[in-house]
């Protein structure tokens, strides 16, 4: 419930309750539940607030103390804190991130699990010779992605690969609208995420990113330093260690395709990982 938050910011600190937030997509929600489950094992009071909008909202919510912890992604988070960032490999990114994280917030150890942005095309398009981002050419295709994609990546993709698009369509952040746009041909390239269950299900083909345009996106807990105690931080580190990209993709599939509940899937994971 969100009722408790009504009266403002200080209550959370006082009551010692940790609010785990998540963005509005399945994977992030699962991660949030996993974090919450893990934190509960330390005896902390934990609640989950899921389905918050984009990163900008989430960070703001952390800073104004609406939230305590959120599952984040190293690359995007770094780009957010440092607009000028050019680093893309996992370790570089993580190192830079630790440095750029604003005072009051901190990131814990990164997980090997990664969920990157990825441009995908249909099998037919791939068969026509499109294997890498570089093959997208000049003004040939319509791209579908979330609203902020153009602002963030349109310049970059041109700079690195010399690729431009006929049109950049706003669809949604890797959700049904994006997938349907690719399926019905109203976009020929769309931006999805590597753990997305839709890729396998539709035989979509991921384009390679030889120049590492998209930065590494290791899962990492972002938290407000005073929101979680040492025990909590330790257990979150354990969670990060236990996660792998494949495991994550599996968890996402169980929710999105098999319609299991986020909570059950998260609990299952914690059980098999023997956390708690």
């Amino acid at each position: 419930g969100s009722k408790e938050d009504l009266s403002g910011s200080d209550q959370q600190a006082a009551s010692g309750e940790v609010v785990v937030g998540s963005a509005d997509f399945t994977e992030n929600k699962i991660l949030a539940e996993v974090y919450a489950g893990a934190l509960k094992t330390t005896g902390a009071k934990v609640s989950v607030k899921s389905g918050i909008g984009a990163r900008e909202l989430v960070v703001k919510a952390l800073q104004d103390k609406s939230l305590g912890v959120v599952p984040e992604y190293t690359g995007n988070l770094l780009n957010y804190f440092d607009k000028a960032n050019a680093k893309t490999t996992p370790d570089e990114v993580y190192a830079a991130l630790k440095e750029k994280t604003p005072a009051g917030l901190e990131v814990l150890a990164k997980s090997p699990a990664e969920d990157k942005d990825v441009l995908v095309v249909t099998k037919e398009t791939a068969d026509s010779g499109v294997k890498s981002i570089a093959d997208l050419g000049d003004n040939k295709y319509v791209l579908g992605a979330a609203g902020e994609w153009a602002q963030r990546w349109q310049g970059k993709v041109k700079e690195l690969y010399g690729v431009t698009f006929k049109e950049v369509k706003t669809t949604d952040a890797g959700g049904p609208v994006t997938v349907d746009a690719l399926k019905d041909g109203s976009a020929q390239v769309v931006n999805l995420y590597t753990t997305s269950a839709d890729i396998k299900a539709n035989n979509f083909v991921e384009l390679t990113d030889p120049k590492s345009m998209y930065p590494a996106q290791n899962i990492v807990p972002l938290l407000r330093s005073d929101a979680v105690d040492a025990k909590g931080k330790a257990v979150l580190d354990k969670v990060s260690q236990a996660l792998t990209t494949e495991k994550l993709a599996e968890l996402v599939k169980r929710v999105d395709v098999d319609k299991e509940t986020v909570a059950n899937v998260a609990a299952d994971f914690l059980k098999t990982a023997a956390i708690g």
Partner: protein, 233 residues
């Protein structure tokens, strides 16, 4: 400051060209709204006139239109998207559902509110049912009917923003995008455009009302009832 940002966004030339430009979005927004209001009018006006004229089914009508009002547009739009496999039909239906109750209320109340003495006189002088409806009841119902259309339009314009959630390039796009990245300039700019569109359409309909509402009714000192309908978007 946020309004300064909104201004900047509105004045940014980049936002005025291309497939995601303001004019395109205004156009799409308008298209959906007009389609929805016309569609709803095509259903609700005849129904309202029939029920008002015959006096049969009034209770059912009021109950049914209240239930329609409670239908959440977002739920309807997402549901229909998944069922129909695309956003357009779902959005249109969702908006029609939204527009039907106020128009229905306007048409029905319009006919109901016609002075009993006037209807009686029309009957007494030998008008058939149809003549009475077209020559007497409908003209006298116009003030409330137009009021219903105006309410419906206001709501539909505001609610068509939700369509952006299922990927339709309405003026809700800058709202949702702006919200995702907390770009208040874009966000407020979009909101201002929606509000502006609503006001413009309202004024246009008010003028249309001036044209079609008989002068004898506008002269009457009786304050006109324009029940405000609920908003759902």
């Amino acid at each position: 400051m946020i309004f300064a940002d909104a201004f900047a966004w509105l004045l940014d030339a980049a936002n005025w060209t291309g497939s995601r430009s303001i004019p395109v979005r205004v156009g799409v927004h308008l298209l959906y709204c007009l389609g929805a209001v016309l569609g709803a009018a095509a259903i609700a006006v005849p129904l309202g006139l029939y029920v008002g004229h015959t006096g049969r089914g009034g209770v059912l009508l009021v109950g049914g239109s209240n239930a329609l009002r409670a239908l959440p547009t977002l739920g309807l739009v997402t549901f229909l998207y998944l069922v129909a496999g695309g956003g357009q039909v779902g959005v249109l239906i969702g908006l029609v559902v939204l527009a039907v109750p106020p128009i229905l209320a306007g048409a029905y109340a319009g006919i109901q509110d016609v002075d009993r003495g006037v209807v009686d006189a029309a009957r007494g002088m030998g008008m058939t049912g149809a003549q009475r409806l077209w020559r007497v009841e409908l003209p006298n119902a116009l003030p409330l009917l137009v009021g219903g259309l105006r309410n419906a339009t206001l709501q539909v314009v505001a609610t068509a923003s939700v369509a952006a959630y299922v990927g339709i390039e309405t003026l809700g796009r800058p709202l949702l995008d702006g919200l995702r990245v907390l770009d208040y300039g874009q966000f407020v700019g979009g909101a201002v455009l929606v509000a502006l569109l609503a006001v413009v359409l309202d004024v246009v309909l008010a003028l249309v009302g001036k044209l079609v509402i008989p002068r004898g009714l506008r002269l009457s000192a009786r304050p006109r009832r324009r029940a405000k309908a609920p908003r759902v978007g």
